[in-house]
Symmetry: C2
Subunit: 159 residues, 2 copies
Amino acid sequence: METDNATPRWLTEDEQCAWRTHLAVNRLLTYQLEKDLQPFGLTYNDYEILVNLSESESLRMRMSDLATATLQSKSRLSHQITRMENAGLVRRENCESDRRGLYAVLTDEGLATMQKVAPHHVASVRKHYIDLMTPEALATLRATLGPIADHLHAQRGKA
Amino acid sequence: METDNATPRWLTEDEQCAWRTHLAVNRLLTYQLEKDLQPFGLTYNDYEILVNLSESESLRMRMSDLATATLQSKSRLSHQITRMENAGLVRRENCESDRRGLYAVLTDEGLATMQKVAPHHVASVRKHYIDLMTPEALATLRATLGPIADHLHAQRGKA
DNA sequence: ATCCATTGGTTCAGTATTCAACTTTCTAGG
DNA sequence: CCTAGAAAGTTGAATACTGAACCAATGGAT
């Protein structure tokens, strides 16, 4: 039984500030990346799918793997892929080894789009994030955030 | 004129890894916080509105200030406040000094909700983020991210 | 005083996301 | 074999978000 009424450990001023900075960076960065992708008619979600597929063997991935990789629900991914299919970036293909399964496959057009957009996206990530830190700061950041990511990943399965 | 066809500066392996960690932490953390708020019937957006209002003079804020503070569009905020109004957490009130304007005002119920939920939310932030770092790491993080936030804020106004 | 460009906010239509229900196929246990 | 679950995906209805169009009030200019 947890003691619900214990005095909570509020955040110190420094913690508060760090936390708010974290939130701000996230939101603003998401906004900016999305904005930089917009001229190409892609959302960040679209782009992420393209990245995943383009890095995969045979440019294809099982729907559920893709859902896991992008941390989306099956439903959401299904809708997303339908949209991208309509846009000609991707196509669904049956899976022989498991007849329940489907592959999302990158089309030629999808690949071409990816190749065209990627440099701009990387430039955007550099401009608004990576290149704003020294390599040491980046390494430290990674060392700090890595374990947090692991914790959150572990947490995710639970309950 | 920018040279579009210049060889892009791809991310190094370290940079790539740091970037992906960043993305993962964001997404997973958002997911987790949202999940921890769910038992109270609040979304993270709801909670953020409550925080802003509860920290304001007279527990009220102008719609547009609230939109700016939470980085949402006017439209989205308007919908959001409508929902929260229906839930009894907030109420709209006219502004005498500027008859175009409206205040979003925290109701008693909204304040009570805030007071009930805040300790749990703070605990969640600690558990999944703050307490996973040493104070030094946190300070470093803040020092690194602060300028990025500033850059992004400045960027935001443009174009 | 009058005009008009801004600001504050809402609304509507289109699009995206969520959540639960459903179909089909696979797997394990008897 | 046969059956009960579990897993892979889709679908549909309800909810949320976006972007443009809109109305009303403001604040300067002239």
